[in-house]
Amino acid sequence: MGRFGLALGALALSATAMAVGLVSAGAAPDSPGEATPLGGGNDGELVDRGRELYLTGCSSCHGLDGGGTDQGPSLVGVGAASADFQLSTGRMPNTEPNRQAVPKPPAYDRDEIDALVAYVASLGDGPPIPDVDDPAGDLVLGGRLFTLNCAACHSSAGNGGALSSGRNAPTVHGATRVQAAEAIRTGPGPMPVFGPETLTDKQVNSIVEYVRYLRDPEDPGGLDLGLVGPITEGLVALLFGLVVLAFVCKWIEPKEPAE
């Protein structure tokens, strides 16, 4: 039993570890609180403060007047939504401009982000911070729209998915409703843009309701194994189900062959 049991045990343990590894998504970075839809009209003081912050933290890549350099794109016309998304998810500042920007703990607090957002919004007309409560989103409609428009990249469970050349569509579980709506409207990185004539506000608000639902969907069946799908289910069946049963067999017939 000794060597064999060890081998089986090690196999089961490593498989469980692999399954758990596949299953556990990265923790969502802290969100500095949701942005509120900007009431229109620039608050001059806020814009000035934003400009100060911008010059220190952003101009080296995005240019002294937001027009862009070869390190970073122009911010003219990207809108408050884009700035708020990038800053509140911590994607910006981006320490590795050649790689896809990844979410990380934000470098700025809520007030600073509001200021930066106001400044970027002042550079040119662009998508504003979306109002995710009005019109009210419909969960069922959101689910249907998510399946057709979002699942291909982000997966039906919102776990995310692989794109070409090392990029990925991230998990949507860490996003607030506002961040999700901002992403939809501004199309960050590889993500396409869904403007107001592509998806109405009601449709976007419905999708973000569904995105929030996916954080903790109904799982009456028990442990949801990360909702990864048949791979984890197969690993569990093989390396837990079958291994446990092999141990059961060994318990029933413990004798070694050479008696």
Partner: protein, 289 residues
């Protein structure tokens, strides 16, 4: 299992008690199962109680088998598998009774073959009713001259519908959800896009449309990466260059996605100029004919 009779009896008694407890626990779990069901049910509780109920019985059987029942080892001789020469000869003699007669009736046998074969062949014909002749159905979709482009809700697509960098799944008006007519509509820019020679007016105002049915194995090619302007199929990772007539640049796909020639009508709606100029979707034997 040797040893003084007292030890043995005590061992047996202990085993019997253990098994009795296991069976009792099992019975209690079964009662719990019934109660759970009666009270409205709960999946996790049902599964666990069922596992205990079954496991208790199983445990009991195995413990009894291992500790109380005769272990042996017993020995049994194997039969010699091949029959003796005498048996084989006897068999052949009996077979000869019919076979010999058959051997002299070659003609009859052949006619039986004809009858049986014909019946067998005829019996295959009902298979034909299972489905229609493929005909030209793999060569056509519901797109035609002037078909209006609509989204999944059936709303027509205008020039203003997509932002640059936007993407939408569309169908021909009147044929929503028809699998072979699904198209991925992408707004690559504001300007006319020429994907290939001869397709100069296929992509007006930056709107380009490709069949969404992957040419490898038919999955919807739903991932549009708007920064590098590539379409990625999630099933087997075939990647298509949107600016180059959806030419495959990675993965098992062997040809480009068929492009739908678009036009913008006088009211600003998007329409197709015609059906695709080749069969959509995965390959098949006579695809190039």
């Amino acid at each position: 299992m040797s040893g003084p009779p007292d030890d043995r009896a005590a061992f047996e008694r202990r085993t019997v008690n253990q098994v009795a407890i296991a069976f009792t626990i099992s019975a209690l779990a079964s009662v719990g199962l019934a109660v759970t069901y009666w009270q409205g049910g709960q999946n996790q509780v049902e599964g666990v109680l069922l596992a205990i109920a079954l496991g208790g019985i199983g445990y009991g059987f195995v413990v009894v088998a291992r500790r109380l029942l005769p272990q042996g080892p017993y020995t049994e001789e194997r039969d010699v598998l091949p029959s003796t020469d005498e048996m084989v000869t006897d068999f052949e003699t009996d077979l000869e009774r019919g076979e010999g007669w058959l051997a002299r009736r070659g003609f009859l046998l052949k006619m039986l073959g004809v009858a049986g074969g014909a019946l067998g062949l005829a019996a295959l014909f009902p298979i034909r009713s299972l489905g229609p002749n493929p005909g030209r159905s793999l060569f056509q979709t519901k797109w035609g001259k002037g078909s209006r482009v609509v989204d999944e809700q059936g709303d027509p697509v205008r020039v203003s519908t997509l932002d640059v960098g936007g993407v939408l799944t569309v169908f021909p008006e009147g044929s929503l959800e028809v699998e072979d007519s699904q198209v991925i509509l992408i707004r690559v820019s504001d300007e006319n896009l020429v994907t290939k020679k001869g397709r100069e007016d296929w992509a007006p105002e930056g709107y380009v449309a490709y069949s969404k049915v992957c040419v490898h194995a038919g999955c919807p090619v739903g991932l549009y990466q708007q920064d590098v302007k590539e379409l990625l199929c999630p099933c087997h990772q075939s990647t298509f260059d949107v600016l180059d007539a959806a030419r495959p640049i990675f993965g098992p796909a062997t040809r480009s996605l068929p492009q739908l020639p678009l036009m913008i009508d006088d009211d600003g709606f998007l329409r197709s100029q015609s059906d695709f100029d080749e069969p959509i979707g995965p390959g098949f034997w006579n695809r190039d004919r």
